[in-house]
Symmetry: C2
Subunit: 261 residues, 2 copies
Amino acid sequence: MRFWKGHGTENDFVLLPDLDGALDLTPDLVVRLCDRRAGVGGDGVLRVVRSAAAGVESEAEFFMDYRNADGSVAEMCGNGVRVYARYLVQAGLVPAGPLLLATRGGTKHVQVGDDLVTVDMGRARVGEPFTVDGAEAVAVDMGNPHAVLAVDSVEALGVLDPERKDVNVEYVETRGPRHVAFRVHERGVGETRSCGTGACAVVVAQVLRTGSGRGESYDVDVPGGRLEVTWRQDGHVLLTGPAVLVAQGVLREDWLTAKQP
Amino acid sequence: MRFWKGHGTENDFVLLPDLDGALDLTPDLVVRLCDRRAGVGGDGVLRVVRSAAAGVESEAEFFMDYRNADGSVAEMCGNGVRVYARYLVQAGLVPAGPLLLATRGGTKHVQVGDDLVTVDMGRARVGEPFTVDGAEAVAVDMGNPHAVLAVDSVEALGVLDPERKDVNVEYVETRGPRHVAFRVHERGVGETRSCGTGACAVVVAQVLRTGSGRGESYDVDVPGGRLEVTWRQDGHVLLTGPAVLVAQGVLREDWLTAKQP
């Protein structure tokens, strides 16, 4: 079984090329692959399969079958979709430039450049503000729920432990005009090095809070690197960032077939 | 650049086959390779090189050039030497069975079986007992210093935070005759899933404490699996355990040559 390993702002993935959908990707195998010590290691698995072979009706040739490290199915991943698109180009399956990708969260428009990849993450939905940790949070839905809180310094925060664990909570520091940094506590996971939908929610909240910057590109610093986010006038959010492929290889047959304890 | 990934009781390594010593393995490259998100991921790097090519005078054909994840050079690693030996056999460089390996800690006698690999870890040196966390610890030197403490339950310990950080501290629970479990706080690292020299020190201390079991095989449970340890009558300690190769592959040229931030 062949694999690639890649990351986007240190959100990392095991890619499994399975163009014709021949692979039986069980939750157990996903968990074993994502194990950082006894497996390859990753935040999730991206199975690369043709839409037709996956039984997905789409104008996009390829379908992103994304699985979380715990083996569960996920709709979308803003960092994963960039790494997936980078793989398609580096493997010679599509040319660089504009690309359509099918995901469980709908068909995504992607633009693959030399260093950076841009994804149209769809429309942001802003909800009623609510209170988290005694402060007013901006509620933004990017297909998943976010609560965005303004803080003076992300470094000064210490361990993130928000009272609300049922939403993704972002703590945002303003670093300049169109420049923010944030740390995120992801629902069901804890703090992570980067969160693509979180970066989108953060910029939407920042535009709303400052009353400016709509339609303009923000620099967004996360612990794992830098993203760029634009909240377009039409409501769509564009997420831009690096997508790096580290290695490619094959899994050892005796590892794949080993009895599990 | 080719690599393999493997682990022994979840102490994991990036192996770099470099038989003729052509590789310029800088500390920076070691750090990047061991990065669990932006690299391949591992507790250390095992460079596989012929002794002659490494400038090491030894009767052993191969030299284990072991590096810690922080890029520093290390003398020996009880779990790493098993994984290294397994690689030599699976890559067809040596037959299974007895094998001599050169390391910075001297030449090691290894026995490669179908599932388990045994290493003669050399002679244990027992020191004067001293006090750690208010209890009397057995001091055992296995080339590195260990302090072994008896506890009722390793599960009940919570976060390991020994007052002594200049030695490796093992907390040992007796599970039956010739059967122990331990957790370890490694000097300069923190708690790990397994420690080969720690397992040796634990069994030496257990033999001294109980006054029995010298020359007999102990089962030693660690968070990452099970090891077997025998303190021979002649003072040498034999460490036996699994050694698993997960995958093999090549690093992407553009990742290797990428400018670092």
